[in-house]
Amino acid sequence: MNQPYLKFEQIGMSFRRGQMETEVLRDVNLHIEQGAFVSMIGHSGCGKSTLLNILGGLLQSTTGEVFLEGKVVDEPGPDRAIVFQNHSLLPWLTVYGNIAIAVDKVFGSRKNKAERHDWVMHNLELVQMAQAKDKRPHEVSGGMKQRVGIARALAMQPKVLLMDEPFGALDALTRAHLQDSVMEIHARLGNTVLMITHDVDEAVLLSDRVVMMTNGPAATIGEILAIELPRPRRRLDLATDPEYARCRAAVLEFLYARHRVPARVAA
């Protein structure tokens, strides 16, 4: 049988805090094929960031394993580059330096200095930030910072690109602009992408599949919706597309009819 590219198998996660043990995730199983763009949506506290961090190797799952190309994932690494919600650029480095620190480390032994420089510039051009390469993070806008964050992750040539609510902190116009950039880059490079989002439109617009999480504690995957819209997708055309409307309605229905945030029960 053909092994899936990326496989979550029976992932469970509990956090222990003193006497209290909170089960965040239970029995999460997910297969992702190479080149797919998968988003994960769910209410706050449903453990989607936890799942992403387990894949990223930043957290160790309590039970189950993640396999990438058949190998167990148990530590962070550049093959699973992460785009963090708050960009996480190092403020003392320039835009160029923030990408170079990753490129120098990841490709230090494989590329010479000139090749590494070209690779940094190539990735800056990919996100249209080459002109701001000598600026420091505090000198560029929020959208530009996130572009650099994406370039840094792409520059590691990850097998899977992980995005943790990458556009959550941006205004609507900047967000739309960056979503278009991400779609374009995905079309060009064909990366496998796992993105966490709160935004139904974003999930439907960008993804091949939308993974919908049930509410925590002990959250798991509730439903997976395949988005069969042809690519390239254009935001304006989709606004009136019946398939788009159907997918959007399906996600909304899942989130707000079947899995409303339950009223908090006093512990």
């Binding site: 990223g56 930043l58 690494g77 580059a81 963090f84 996480s88 190092l90 003392w92 620190i101 480390k105």
Partner: protein, 299 residues
Amino acid sequence: MSIATKADTMSAADPVPGATAEIVAFRPPMRPAMDRIAAAARHTMSVLLPPLIVISLTLFTWQLLCSEPGARLPPPTKVVSDAWDFIVDPFYDNGGVDKGAFWQISKSLGRVGIGFSLAAIVGIALGVLVGQSTWAMRGLDPIFQVLRTIPPLAWLPLSLAGFRDAQPSAIFVIFITSIWPIIINTSVGVRNIPQDYRNVAAVIRLSWWEVFYKITLPATVPYIFTGLRIGIGLSWLAIVAAEMLIGGVGIGFFIWDAWNSSRISDIIVALVYIGIVGFLLDKLIATVGHFVSHGVAAQ
């Protein structure tokens, strides 16, 4: 006058007579330049005037209070005339401890320089250790918290007993005075490194050493410089007191010596110098911090 002439010529050249339009087009290049100069002058005045007024009032009041016969302290005019030699020639050297202000201050600065540099090196190293290791923090922090409350001069007899020499004892007092804020601020800085930076380091798989000099140190720089600023201030406070006790050349003993020879005016001039040097030391560290942290540390 020239405005009118120019406007007239232009309206003459213009097929449509419209003097008002001409003047409107003509004015802008003139006004902003004048306005800018005026604004700059106003700004300079508003910054310089208040301190000048306060200083003049202070000197005036001091002059009034100390002018009557039998006043215990000299008025400003007498300070300047008494200490004139000390003020105008900072480079004289009559041998022994009878040297100009430049030599006195540079001797003190030398002691501070050595003691403070040692404190910076050891303090940053210990701060990083305490910041990174919970075990080291639990072990060392209580000791630091007790030791840091000991007044600088309380260390002097002990260090004299240990070193049996004035010079290293004074340097040790500087060291032990300025090291605490450096340790504490550095360790707080290391503990406050955002988890995001650590995650980035983990994803690109930086080694322990690379994390230290590519992430930990630069992320901690603003905190380190806060510690260094407090430390240099404390050093300068401590050196004057320590020098009074150890003697020799140095601005601290100069003051004590002046008191013993009733040269009150020299003391007052020396105090002004100490204040100015302390201020400059603080600014120096702040400026270095500003550059090293690429503008992240406040100036």
